[in-house]
């Protein structure tokens, strides 16, 4: 059955969006009509499979001085669909006190000093500051450099890109460097490392913004997540706590919906992982790194335009393989709420229709099992479930062979405001840094402060961060931890049942 991606009246495809990168390839549909074809821009002929080639070809053409209307990744086009609520920081006045007061600035520039991205303020306005940054980088010895003042300035050079962070958040240089690395990987996820290297090899002062137009929202979203989401700090993925049976049934549904070259099937709800299913023969034992999952989650969550229907787009998983693309089918299963998202990754650029067919099968099976309403009922953990009075919040990460998953409770009173959430996370970040110091690591930190008491503990089996009221006694804290760990063990059927499920062999 053929699917007309640009079909009018099809609830999954809004008019303008998918049409722009239509997937009319060798599977020609007789219902394609001339007028839609004409209405498309000159790139519409290129299906997503050729998209990659087209983009690189454009890069080459531009180098030769031929003015070709550059078109960047459709992923980024999606990003330009701005919702009215989106506040742009692009036009901020960089000389104002308010600009200086931002907690964390991030800048990306090329080796030649060409600006690529700035979190606050436009790149043009900051060109002189960026020039100074480049001078500093080249002046000081090669390698990564940090300047400490009231702010910390961290420089990171990866290939032809230079990333700079100026932060008053009191994070350590290692943590900030890790965040810059995430920004680098997000850029790679859109362009691949190989093409970036190639582009800059040919033209040192290429303006990468041409290819990244529209990506600011994605990078902004990533930086916001880095600030507010604990799973980045612990380098693990947060899963929605599902009952074993529900997770198993969802995994089975995904397992059965297969097609050649489909390698990953991922189900996400409310920006948290439900399950991942991985093809065994192609990938063998390689796993998806938590960082890759984070980047995927950010891409999907950063823009509401994905909610519009089905998307077929090239995507690079930088930690898995930084030099090549997968082809991702992205679709929300529950419009218009759009909380449950299905992500199918294939290595075959022509496979759109086959993959879309998988989605249909999955949808059907989930409808039969009423999965969507079951998922909607699942709640994140709350500390009150643990039954310990002084405990305010916890984060738990088991050291498990099958995956890197983290569990944490919701941030509730007194950490309800954004400020307080950030403050608590900052405290966790400082403890994480001390415990994992490369030269003098620790096993345990117990910190009594004015507003809370914190305990961080690392053993060979797990890593645990807890927050208590400031008046808790040491004896109470110890009892609370014991109780918490026992409760976690009981809940393990929910928390640790998330294993990577491998596809059955095809006969």
């Amino acid at each position: 059955m053929e699917r007309d991606m640009r079909g009018r009246g099809n609830p999954w495809t809004p008019s303008g969006l998918i049409g722009q990168f239509s997937l009319s390839n060798n599977v020609s549909s007789p219902t394609l009509d001339k007028e839609t074809e004409d209405a498309a821009t000159d790139n519409d002929r290129s299906d997503s499979g050729e998209f990659v080639v087209t983009m690189l070809a454009k890069a080459k053409l531009e180098e030769q001085g031929i003015g070709v209307k550059g078109r960047s990744s459709p992923l980024l086009e999606v990003g330009t669909q701005e919702t009215p609520a989106f506040i742009s920081h692009r036009d901020e006045d960089v000389t104002a006190e308010s600009w200086r007061q931002h907690r964390k600035h991030v800048f990306v520039l090329s080796e030649a000093g060409k600006p690529i991205y700035s979190r606050y303020g436009s790149e043009e306005a900051l060109s002189s500051t960026m020039g100074v940054m480049m001078a500093l980088v080249s002046f000081v010895q090669s390698g990564d450099n940090i300047i400490r003042s009231e702010h910390i300035v961290v420089f990171l050079q990866k290939g032809p890109l230079v990333l700079v962070c100026v932060s008053s958040s009191r994070q350590t240089e290692q943590q900030l460097r890790g965040e810059l690395l995430y920004v680098y990987y997000q850029i790679i996820s859109m362009l691949t490392q190989a093409s970036i290297s190639r582009i800059f090899e040919h033209k040192k002062n290429y303006d990468l913004r041409r290819l990244l137009a529209g990506s600011e929202k994605i990078l902004d979203g990533l930086l916001n997540l880095l600030d507010s989401d604990p799973s980045f700090l612990l380098a693990a993925v947060h899963c929605l706590p599902l009952a074993c049976s529900l997770r198993d049934s969802l995994s089975q549904i995904l397992q059965k919906a297969i097609t050649p070259n489909l390698v990953f099937s991922i189900l996400i709800a409310r920006n948290q992982l439900l399950t991942i299913v991985q093809e065994k023969t192609v990938i063998e034992d390689a796993r998806l790194e938590p960082a890759d999952v984070h980047l995927l989650l950010n891409l999907i969550g950063a823009s509401s335009a994905f909610q519009a229907g089905e998307i077929w787009t090239p995507i690079c998983l930088p930690l898995f393989n930084p030099d090549c693309y997968f082809y991702a089918y992205i679709s929300y299963l529950d419009p218009p709420e759009c909380t449950v998202c299905l992500l199918l990754l294939s290595t075959d650029k022509e496979a759109f229709y086959a993959v879309a067919e998988c989605k249909r099968k999955i949808e059907e099976a989930m409808m039969a099992q009423n999965s969507l309403s079951l998922i909607a009922k699942v709640q994140s953990y709350s500390v009150s479930q643990v039954g310990v009075s002084d405990l305010r919040h916890f984060m738990y990460k088991p050291f498990d062979v099958t995956g890197c998953f983290i569990t944490y409770s919701k941030m509730e009173a007194p950490y309800s405001s954004e400020e307080e959430k950030m403050r608590l996370l900052d405290l966790y970040r400082y403890m994480h840094n001390r415990i994992h110091s490369t030269s003098r690591p620790l096993k345990l930190i117990y910190h009594v402060a004015e507003r809370e008491t914190l305990l961080a503990w690392v053993t060979s089996k797990f890593e645990l961060y807890t927050c208590f009221s400031p008046l808790v006694t040491k004896a109470c804290a110890i009892t609370a931890i014991t109780k918490l760990l026992r409760w976690i063990k009981k809940e393990e059927d929910r928390m640790n049942s998330l294993k990577l499920v491998l596809f059955p062999y095809l006969s």
Binding site: V132, I147, P441
Partner: protein, 478 residues
């Protein structure tokens, strides 16, 4: 000077290099702003045999970094620059005068087989910013003690005089820096006090009053026993740096001959006064010789509206020392007068104090293995006490705990500095040592416990016991 320690591990010899001083310079970016005159900005540069252009480049880099950080925070510019191989510290003690110290990171050199050059691993995390930042500030304070502020020098004799003074002071002072043994105590810059009973303390006070009354030239007095302070009339900040000078430079220089023993050729001819055991540590070493020239070092202490220049007279009776900053020219007559007045009285006092010292010793236990390993510091009176540091001499300061534990103390101190409130931090290190840090009001206490199988509650009890014996009148968080 670099210390090289050889570690033998399974047949391969690793060489461990401790942190060392690479550069130290003083500059003012407002001098020589015209093209081609950049060299005028540099007021002092060590090592001096570096090529002129390289000096200009390094100073230029510092200027650029400071400017860059001012973009984000105009009032608090750069404090340090971390690179893989070294660390630079920036300090602006007076408007537009900058002191920069560059320290080479500690590193391990691992030999490679087949004649390949050894791989070098830099240990950036070993250097704690607060510790070495404090060392730079100390360098300035020491300079200021003996020369007054940069501004004052400029007024007195312009840039040329300043350059001269900087060269003279830092050339010698930098040689005394031992960067490999800097730690938390450098951050505190505290003074070790000698606990005395009320009677003896009052005797000393009245003695000091009498001396100051009879000899009007004396402006301030400080009284020390061994290396510990009993009484000081000086401003806290002045006393703190003077104390450091006395205990790390002046006293060790003079105590060595004494320790050398009677028959050693090092022992100088002490034509002593038979009535008492006193002698001058600064000034005339031999009062009997009318021809001998002498001088007292000049120091600058702060007053309400500026600075005053005084002579430092250090007079010693066995282990009691009295130093007296006093103004105006000091003549031989004055010295004899001082000797006659102070000597006998001080001798008597000294024996009283000595008794106290023995009593104290009996209470606190033998020094060899103190019951608790702790460091205590009070920000208000600068009192510091450490049972971890032993035998502080000019060249080395031994600690009885592993350097990594000292660095953990440094980390906890940094954490305390983040907020003003009272806090407590307990950590368990990988080696199963427990380190407890308590901050209460303006006091900090750090305790190291070697109790591998203890849990948090037991550790807490141990520390409470320590506080009960040594700090029973101070409230620490529980």
């Amino acid at each position: 000077m670099t210390t090289v320690i050889l570690l033998m591990a399974s047949g391969m010899q690793e060489k461990q290099y401790t942190p060392s001083l690479l550069n130290f310079f003083v500059y003012n970016p407002t001098f020589g702003q015209k093209e081609g005159e950049e060299e005028k900005k540099i007021l002092f540069y060590h090592p001096s045999d570096v090529e002129k252009n390289e000096k200009i480049r390094n100073v230029g880099l510092c200027e650029a970094i400071v400017q860059f950080t001012r973009t984000f925070c105009p009032t608090k510019p750069a404090k340090s620059l971390h690179t893989q191989k070294n660390r630079q510290f920036f300090f602006e003690p007076e408007d537009n005068f900058w002191i920069v110290m560059v320290v080479r990171n500690p590193m391990i050199e691992k030999p490679n087989k087949d004649g390949k050059p050894p791989t070098v691993e830099y240990q950036e995390e070993e250097i704690i910013d607060t510790v070495y930042g404090a060392v730079v500030k100390q360098c300035y304070s020491m300079y200021k003690l003996f020369n007054g502020t940069f501004g004052r020098q400029m007024e007195a004799g312009g840039v040329e005089l300043l350059i001269q003074k900087l060269e003279k002071f830092f050339y010698r002072y930098l040689q005394t820096l031992h960067l490999q043994s800097c730690d938390l105590l450098d951050v505190f810059g505290g003074i070790s006090f000698f606990p005395l009973d009320k009677m003896t303390y009052l005797k000393i006070q009245s003695f000091v009053n009498r001396v100051e009354e009879s000899l009007s030239l004396i402006k301030y007095t400080a009284f020390l026993y061994n290396d510990q302070l009993i009484w000081s009339g000086l401003e806290q900040d002045d006393m703190r740096i003077l104390y450091k000078y006395l205990t790390t430079s002046l006293f060790p220089r003079h105590s060595e001959p004494e320790l050398a023993g009677r028959d050693s050729p090092l022992r100088p001819e002490v034509a002593g006064n038979l009535l008492h055991y006193g002698r001058f540590l600064t000034g005339p070493t031999n009062l009997k010789d009318p021809e001998a020239k002498f001088r007292f070092p000049k120091i600058f202490v702060s007053t309400e509206d500026g600075y005053e220049e005084l002579h430092l007279i250090v007079y010693k009776v066995r282990n009691s020392k009295c130093d007296r900053p006093s103004s105006v020219e000091l003549t031989r007559d004055f010295c004899e007068q001082l000797d006659g007045l102070v000597g006998p009285q001080l001798t008597l006092l000294a024996s009283d104090i000595c008794e106290q010292f023995t009593v104290n010793r009996r209470i606190s236990g033998p020094e060899k293995e103190p019951q608790f390993k702790f460091i205590y510091f009070n920000h208000m009176n600068l009192a510091e006490k450490s049972t971890i540091h032993m035998r502080k001499t000019a060249s080395v300061c031994l600690t009885s705990v592993h350097p990594d534990l000292m660095k953990i103390l440094g980390d906890i101190n940094c954490d305390f500095a983040r907020v003003d409130e009272d806090e407590e931090i307990i950590v368990k290190a990988m080696t199963d040592y427990w380190v407890v840090g308590k901050k209460s009001d303006q006091r900090e206490l750090y305790v190291i416990l070697n109790q591998k199988n203890a849990n948090l509650i037991e550790v807490n009890e141990e520390v409470k016991r320590l506080c009960a014996t040594q700090f029973n009148n101070i409230f620490f968080l529980d």
